[in-house]
């Protein structure tokens, strides 16, 4: 029993650790996709945020300025994507692929010049995103240890769950949200009703970059302490998958990210205790995602105008 509670605590801790960056990026992806712009550049925007966040935190000593700047770096690449896809009617897949090359390319090059290495200098504990409720729970008892594992988590984790609620509210309870969703379904109809489709989409794509940047910053400022070229390997794509999994809704993306995070948490515990080959265990999150899709989720309806550039006629 003690063992079980311990393990469960570790699994939940790992779940939250894995889920947080994915969830930021997935919320970002929601903004862009729902407004009608395919954004496969999430990965590149996350990398930009991961690097900028940790570098700014290192030089200012303040994790929150770093975290914010990570988001802004992501937003910068989001803006590039928006200029190309929204203003210039570019093919969204091509532009996104370009962002995925430019983001890592530029920041790793800057790292090389600044630090004479592709890795940044590790952050000190005070420069990292703080963990809340540290030492509140008595870790000498089993229950206390469980609570400590689950609730003494990084502030960024608490923030992202708050962000899900905010995004849900914006999407479904505000005028902007209604317009945003309409732009992804039928931009021509929006325009006739006086909604500025281009501006709405532009904002949404920048927002997706900002949130992805925050997600990237979580990886290097909370989970790890430094930026390395392998800090962001595929999380951006997993976030996109989570959004498709969640049928392009923020609450669905939350479920997708949690499922993936939980399976990754399971991997941590299984990898330590069972005799199964680590490589096979590592497949679990990906395999389970596919199986859950087949069994419970099924077809995901893509917003009708998703991927189609909107050209404003005169």
């Amino acid at each position: 029993m003690t063992n079980l509670i311990n393990n469960l605590g570790i699994i939940l801790y790992a779940t939250l650790i894995y889920t947080t960056p994915l969830l930021y990026a997935a919320l970002g992806s929601c903004f862009s996709e729902v407004s009608g712009v395919v954004n496969i550049g999430i990965e590149g925007m996350m990398t930009a945020g991961a690097f900028t966040g940790t570098v700014v935190a290192y030089f200012t000593g303040n994790p929150w300025i770093g975290f914010l700047c990570g988001g802004l770096a992501g937003a910068f690449f989001g803006m590039l994507h928006a200029i190309a896809t929204v203003r210039l009617g570019a093919d969204q897949t091509i532009a996104g692929t370009a962002i995925n090359m430019l983001g890592p390319g530029i920041v790793i090059m800057i790292a090389k010049v600044m630090f004479n290495s592709t890795d940044t200098i590790p952050l000190e504990a005070s420069m990292k995103i703080p963990r809340l409720f540290r030492g509140v729970f008595d870790t000498s008892t089993v229950f206390g240890r469980f609570m400590d594992n689950v609730f003494a988590n990084y502030a960024s984790t608490y923030l992202v769950f708050l962000a899900v609620a905010v995004v849900w509210f914006v999407f479904y309870k505000t005028r902007f949200g209604l317009r945003l969703r309409a732009c992804g379904e039928h931009p021509q109809a929006c325009e006739t009703l006086g909604i500025n489709v281009l501006r709405t989409r532009f904002l949404c794509v920048c927002m997706s970059g900002f949130l992805s940047g925050l997600g990237g910053a979580c990886v290097t400022m909370a989970i790890s302490t430094q930026f390395r070229p392998i800090s962001i390997v595929g999380q951006g794509f997993i976030a996109i998958a989570a959004v498709i999994f969640g049928k392009f809704r923020p609450q669905g993306a939350l479920l997708g990210c949690l499922l993936f995070g939980f399976c990754s948490g399971l991997k941590v515990v299984l990898g330590g205790s069972s005799g199964i080959d680590m490589q096979l265990i590592s497949m679990i999150p990906y395999a389970i995602t596919v199986i859950v899709l087949i069994l419970f989720v099924g077809k995901s309806r893509v917003p009708a105008a998703n991927g189609k550039p909107y050209i404003k006629s005169k």
Binding site: A98, L280, I294
Partner: protein
Amino acid sequence: MIRKKSFLDAVAENRFIHTILSIVLGFLVGAVFLAVMGLSVGEAYGRLISSVTSLKGFSYVIVYSIPYVVAGLSVAFSFKTGVFNIGAEGQFVVGAMAAAVVGILAGGLPKLVLIPLCFLTAMIAGAIWGVIVGFLKTRWGINEVLSMIMFNWIAFYLSNFIAGIPAIHSDGTAEATKNISENASTLFSKEFINSLGLAPTFNWGFLVAIAATILVWFIIEKTTLGYELKAVGSNKFAAEYGGINVNRSILTALAISGALAGLAGALQLMGMGSRISVFSSQEGFGFAGIVVALMGCSNPFGVLLAGVFYGALVFGGSKLNLVGAPTQLINVIVGTVVFFIAISTIFRYLKYLKKAPKQPVAAKKEKEADKA
């Protein structure tokens, strides 16, 4: 009113010229980055050019290009048929792994049997990996981009797992498989390579890549199958109305695209790597294939050129650190090239440069507004 076609008009409308302009702009942006970092542009680009123009350097470029060309063909084929094969990465990995397993376990077979067998298993493995995703889509309506992302990682871990199986794993301490049998290698003979002073990994895989290019062009442009696949790609509903079985077309397209990616994996293994290492992150040949397909405008011969260009940049880029420039410069250049290809509509404004003075001002203003 019909305007006479001027030189600028031709420039403004030709996609090939757009790509060339994008490449020029990519190098310009790369130069700006070099200058900002305080490095000599001439020295870096000089190194880049000198390292790929010697005979030995060029032979390196050719062998580097092989997997990029074939992976690019895989993605280009999928684009033509309306599917976005972001799963080329996984298909590449299972293809390389399948070729490695055959090349190690059936190493006793003569060259004439073993090499085609390796190619065939790699292509079947890649095709299966593609068809699974297609089946999930046609049977349960599961978004192919999602399942491809998942299957890329499953392939990655599967390859690492198989590399650890005792019959395949290296006898030494290396975290890799055994080397494939000599009989499965596509390398030219040592005497031939040494006598010309070529790259030690110079292999005849490039002939396969050229053959694949012609074959893909033939399938797309000259066969009924290609016509059907293209029809489904451009309008699924019209194709169905016209009597084409859409689901079967999607499966066929993914099978062919997957087989090409698998072949790319086999070519890389049998010519360059000769064994599979246990990696900590994806190698990215499939993702590079997407970039190559985009640079080649999804045209098979365009892909061939783009693949060689990409191979040259990757090889030349690996020499950049000799002059103190970061290798990552290559990603910035290629990223910029792809970005300008995406927004190549801006090159249309070129035709306003000469005539009709009102429009260039408006176009310019719009461009400036976009930049701001």
